[in-house]
Amino acid sequence: MMNEVRLNGSRFDIANGRIDHLRWDTFDAIMTAGFWPDTTSTDGFAASRSVPGVVDLPNILSKLLNFSDMSLSEVVATATVNAAKVFPFLRGKGTLNVGADVDLAILKLREGEFEFLDNYEGVRVGRKRLFPFETIHAYEE
């Protein structure tokens, strides 16, 4: 059913927001079924860092990295090239191709033990976590 909707051109975003959105058992069922998100977002707002289940977009990407079969490049695609296809103003962004804007998030992929929360106080420990380090952007309008 949902695959038909996707084939018809609708996009699905995992959107791990502030409350009532993501629970690990549902997340597992979706990932086991292979219904990977087209895009990944956070519902992010100015105070997201203080919301334990959200923190930042790299944290949400890290959940996919740790608890699904998606590879790093497949996870990254959900917040880069895939996201750029959704809205025309992002066309040409989301890549490091020749001629693309010099917009870069520099993330550190650290290994260790990191806690990841769903929206229902469910805690999991993952071995990898992407951390935002610096951002370079050349945007002018």
Binding site: I14, P58, I136
Partner: protein, 234 residues
């Protein structure tokens, strides 16, 4: 020191690279650099990064490139609410977000304020207008169906075509009086301008399987993993 020299020396210091190794795509004008306040100092070796950040290569072709434990790519957030706060866009930038969409924080009645903030954002920022004319409100964006006003929405889009990139419909049961009708109205306003609709799913009264039948190509479903029968897989 000239601004460009200052920035360039700052990048060298931050990344620990020599002048010769600064990638050519960063020259001659080096863009601003935003550091995440919680990131560790660039040169500080630690258990997870024994060598510190000793080199950096930026290339072309793939969507991202890795050297040591670094990943580099433009990070795009198509569903956020950073424009609810004047600091939001800068905080997003510190977190790596180089472009984003504010998804329905404002409706027709308060679109001007949020467009002004989008214009002021350091990175590309656009807006999904909430079909609820007052935007996100505590009582529920469309707890009164009259708040989902198609004509007001269309007029606001027409006045801000350069910044409105779609229409947002939040369909949680506590937020709307009638999810199907609100989605229908969102589609009516969006379709007039050939724009997509983003639906906020989760705990809606109507099952997700029914609501997605009302979508058109290019529309977006967000929050697809809630613990209800409304998840994409259950």
């Amino acid at each position: 020191m000239h601004r460009r020299q200052f920035l360039k020396s700052g990048l060298r210091a931050a990344l620990g690279v020599s002048a010769a190794s600064i990638p050519s795509i960063l020259s001659p004008v080096l863009p601003p650099i935003y550091r995440n306040p919680f990131s560790s100092p660039a040169h500080a070796p630690n258990a997870n990064n024994p060598g510190g950040l000793d080199s950096l290569e930026i290339g072309t072709g793939p969507i991202f490139q890795r050297k040591m434990d670094l990943s580099l790519f433009p990070l795009l957030a198509i569903h956020a609410h950073y424009l609810q706060d004047p600091r939001g866009a800068h905080i997003a930038l510190e977190d790596g977000i180089t472009g984003f969409v504010d998804a329905g924080s404002a409706g027709a009645d308060n679109i001007d304020d949020i467009v002004a903030m989008a214009r002021a954002a350091p990175q590309p920022a656009r807006i999904l207008i909430n079909i609820g004319r007052r935007g996100v409100i505590g009582e529920g964006d469309t707890f009164e169906l009259s708040l989902a006003n198609v004509e007001a929405c269309k007029a606001a889009i027409a006045s801000n075509l350069d910044y409105v990139v779609g229409v947002k419909a939040r369909l949680t049961a506590e937020v709307t009086a009638n999810d199907r009708e609100v989605l229908r109205r969102a589609q009516e306003a969006a379709s007039y301008f050939k724009l997509p609709v983003m639906i906020h799913m989760g705990q809606s009264e109507t099952p997700m399987g029914e609501l997605v039948k009302l979508l058109k190509p290019g529309d977006i479903v967000v929050h697809d993993s809630p613990p209800t029968t409304h998840a994409t897989v259950h």
